[in-house]
Amino acid sequence: MTARVGVVTFPGSLDDGDAARAVRIAGAEPVRLWHGDPDLHGVDAVVLPGGFSYGDYLRCGAIARFAPVMETVVDAARGGLPVLGICNGFQILCEAHLLPGALTRNQHLHFRNRDQVLRIESAGTAWTNAFQPGQEVLIPVKNGEGCYVADPATLDQLEAEGRVVARYVGGNPNGSQRDIAAITNPAGNVVGIMPHPEHAVEALTGPSLDGLGFFTSVLKHLVGAPA
């Protein structure tokens, strides 16, 4: 049975099609989920894609968090469902308090799109088990509000528990504290990442194929997980 990975479309989601394509290339079946429908249609994992949900008005992710689908996603995530939030999805996960901290305006105040080297710090999550710890990957970053902040105690706790999943290497594109690019919850099933692995899954359109690992990881995770 191929795994079924849901991709949520909020009003203003932009990378939902790309996330679905990445899921497909990784060998799973993408299932499109609609923000207004609380039913997850039995998917095995969920991706909250990038974009500008609700125009990113007020704060990025602040309004999307209240979408009907999010109530189910939050509950399911607490129950162990693998959830990956990419960019806007990461912002939504923080707003929904599935992940600690917040994503704020880039320190240099500009939207920035570039190919970015990341170091995978934790290969112990549902979305990074295909990598080696310390492995460097090249993935596009593109955001205006990607600066990760949290209070020092939270940051220390993330570090101590090995929950910093990836860090920017060779230049921090947005001023994130401790160069943090991705984090996870204590259980390792929920991951938020600012850069866009779904844009690095094809040689023709991406800077590398490194993004694929995030999607193949969850398949591996699902096979290993008890049904």
Binding site: P11, G12, L14, D15, G17, D18, R21, H35, G36, G50, G51, F52, Y54, G55, D56, Y57, H110, F111, R112, N113, R114, P140, K142, G144, H196, E198, H199, E202, L204, T205, G206
Partner: protein, 652 residues
């Protein structure tokens, strides 16, 4: 946004009377509106000030501010002749907008004809000049559409919003053809790089182009950034959009089928960009109203994204008969163009238009340039489904009128508009769209051209030794025009949609259109105002040749051309000559290269006082790649095992 506090949809089919009789329909204010509508004066207060057709008949001698609206004496006389009476205020506003240079192309029309006359035959062209954008077939099933447009002046006044709404406007043009917008480009011109005002304009424009395009989810795949003091008081912000459609999804703007319903979809209408017709304020308008008429439109890319998805869903379900975007001339243009191109009439109840400010007057509603709106023509049976789709995507959709039959004698129908039971407009739509003035303006080669041309490249001193050569090279490298553009292009998303094969810093952007077959297109925009200033005919040909080359070197076959012609005042014979030469150059160049101009845009009056910008034709060329995997990127690819590429220089 699907949880509008009320359904986004507020009219049902039976609210539209079958007969084109004036029927009072009280606009129902929803909760969101309620707060803002409370300021509205009762309807009766307004009717006193509204200029109706009856009043116009009864007061033929009333003085009207047509000159302030930019209409000449003879143009005003023509309007009176067409109508057989003086126009109402609303009609006057409509004629002044539709007969403006911007909408009527009255100074450029006689020249632009060459694009059609000299166009090489093409069996790919599904829609050409005159449509919202040209449509070119690229395979049995697929077509692409692309067009470039200017938003120069608004971007000088308010760089962020001006540039943002420039992107929004061209995207709606593409959407109106039935296409999904898939990429944007932005040819830009600024004043001197170190001028303080450039420090205001440039970051705002870049942020605006990025802010709108990024939020819409359209990759930016190329453009230009050029600095020259001639653009100091008049920067150029041109925006190009590319769209893709299945051949059989091509949409028309024609308001065919009497009895069909006219639906306004998208944002609510506010007082955006009606500065031009503000002299028409009625006596009942309170003091301080002047400042309530912003000349700047504010864009809402989120609304536009929803509008795109809603429209595409409507097209795929075959729910619309005709569609037109609302751009420069707002409802006026959309209503008259859709009716005129079908030869039908239209009956519109203006008070049904959802407003942001309840105190708006009829001529303001007709002239408003509020962004993110589309006009649809739908059959009565499908209205319900259309409104449902709008509701799903959280955009307003309101039935505001219906299509009426041409007159029994075969004459086209009339556009009849009422406002709370008052007849405010009764015109032949074609008179606004097609019968506008056309001028063959005087032209004269600029007097200083001969002096400029005398200063020939051959006579310039050349670097004579290695040191001089080094110095020249360093100066060139330091020139803002040759410098790295990363500061700009990093602010644009080039990855979204996952089909960008080439983008900055490549010569052309390349977009994959069909994931299955690898079919794709390459696009480049180029222009050189300095060449065009020296010789507009050849300068324009050079711009075409450059864009053509940029497309060809990726491995694509160039097949279509779009253009944006940025010039000074057409009333200046020197500028008019430059314009005519540029058009002739582009038409001749296209003939020689064997590709048609499929559309474009003219922007006149780019000048500060008497000083015009350099004539700046910007030319976009589109090419097809049967398989984007075979595209040739710009850089030398490192070879394994010490193999080396050979380098050849082609041409002189």
């Amino acid at each position: 946004m699907t949880t509008h506090p009320e359904p986004a949809v507020r009219e049902t089919p039976d609210a539209v009377p079958a007969e084109p009789q004036a029927t009072a329909v009280v606009p129902q204010a929803g909760p969101v509106d309620a707060g803002r509508r409370t300021e509205a004066a009762p309807a009766d207060d307004w009717s006193a000030g509204v200029d109706t057709v009856g009043r116009a008949d009864a007061t033929p001698e009333e003085l009207q501010p047509y000159a302030e609206l930019g209409l000449r004496d003879d143009e005003y006389d023509r309007i009176r002749h067409i109508l057989g009476r003086r126009p109402t205020q609303a009609e006057l506003a409509m004629y002044s907008i539709m007969w403006s240079e911007h909408c009527s192309y009255k100074s450029s029309k006689v020249h632009l004809r060459q694009f059609g006359e000299k166009a090489p035959p093409s069996d790919r062209l599904l829609a050409g000049i005159g449509e919202n954008a040209g449509v070119v077939q690229i395979s049995d099933e697929l077509a692409v559409t692309f067009k470039v447009e200017s938003h120069n002046h608004p971007s000088f006044v308010e760089p962020y919003q001006g540039a943002a709404t420039g992107v929004g406007g061209i995207v709606r043009d593409i959407l109106a053809m039935g296409a999904r917008p898939v990429a944007v480009m932005d040819p830009l011109r600024f004043g001197a790089a170190d001028h303080p005002d450039t420090a205001r304009v440039l970051p705002g424009v870049i942020a605006g182009v990025g802010g709108y395009g990024n939020c819409l989810g359209l990759p930016n795949i190329g453009g230009e950034v050029v600095f020259d003091p001639c653009y100091q008081g008049n920067p150029l912000v041109n925006a190009l959009c590319l769209g893709v459609l299945p051949v059989d999804r091509l949409q028309k703007k024609d308001a065919t089928g009497p009895g069909n319903i006219v639906v306004l979809m998208g944002a609510r209408t506010g007082r955006d960009g009606i500065g031009g017709v503000s002299v028409l304020a009625s006596a009942t308008f309170d003091e301080g109203s002047e400042q309530r008429r912003p000349s700047v439109q504010v864009g809402d890319p989120f609304m536009e994204k929803l509008l795109i998805e809603a429209c595409l869903e409507l097209y795929d379900a075959e729910l619309v008969v005709g569609i037109q975007d609302l751009g420069g001339a707002g409802l006026t243009c959309a209503l008259t163009e859709t009716a005129a191109s079908a030869g039908t009439g239209m009956r519109v109840w203006l008070e049904r238009v959802p407003l942001r400010e309840a105190s708006m007057e009829p001529h303001e509603i007709l002239a408003s340039e509020s962004q993110e709106r589309m006009l649809l023509v739908v059959t009565p049976e499908k209205l319900e489904a259309v409104l449902k789709t709008a509701e799903k995507w959280g955009v307003w959709a309101t039935a505001i009128g219906e299509v009426t039959a041409p007159s029994p004698d075969g004459q086209p129908g009339r556009l009849v508009v009422t406002w709370r039971d008052q007849l405010v407009v009764d015109v032949p739509p074609g008179s606004l769209v097609d019968d506008g003035p056309v001028y063959a303006r005087p032209m004269r080669e600029p007097a200083d051209l001969i002096l400029l041309q005398a200063d020939r490249a051959e006579t310039l001193p050349r670097p004579a030794n290695p040191d001089a050569l080094r110095e020249t090279l360093l100066r060139m490298i330091a020139s803002p025009n040759l410098a790295d553009k990363t500061w700009v292009t990093e602010q644009y998303d080039r990855y979204v949609l996952g089909n960008t094969v080439l983008a900055q810093p490549e010569d052309s952007g390349v977009i994959r259109i069909d994931e299955r077959t690898g079919l794709g297109v390459a696009l480049s925009v180029d222009g050189n105002g300095r060449y065009a200033r020296l010789d507009p005919y050849h300068g324009t040909k050079l711009a075409l040749a450059e864009a053509y080359r940029n497309v060809a070197v990726t491995g694509a076959k160039p097949i279509a051309v779009t253009n944006c012609l940025n010039f000074g005042s057409p009333e200046d014979p020197g500028v008019m000559w430059q314009f005519a030469e540029a058009v002739r150059g582009l038409a001749d160049g296209c003939l020689e290269l064997g590709i048609p101009v499929t559309g474009g845009n003219v922007s006149f009056y780019n000048q500060t006082g008497a000083a015009a910008i350099h004539p700046t034709p910007v030319v976009g060329v589109l090419g097809v790649l049967d398989n984007v995997a075979e595209r040739v990127p710009m850089g030398f690819v490192p070879r394994a095992a010490g193999d080396h590429d050979q380098i050849f220089l082609l041409g002189e």
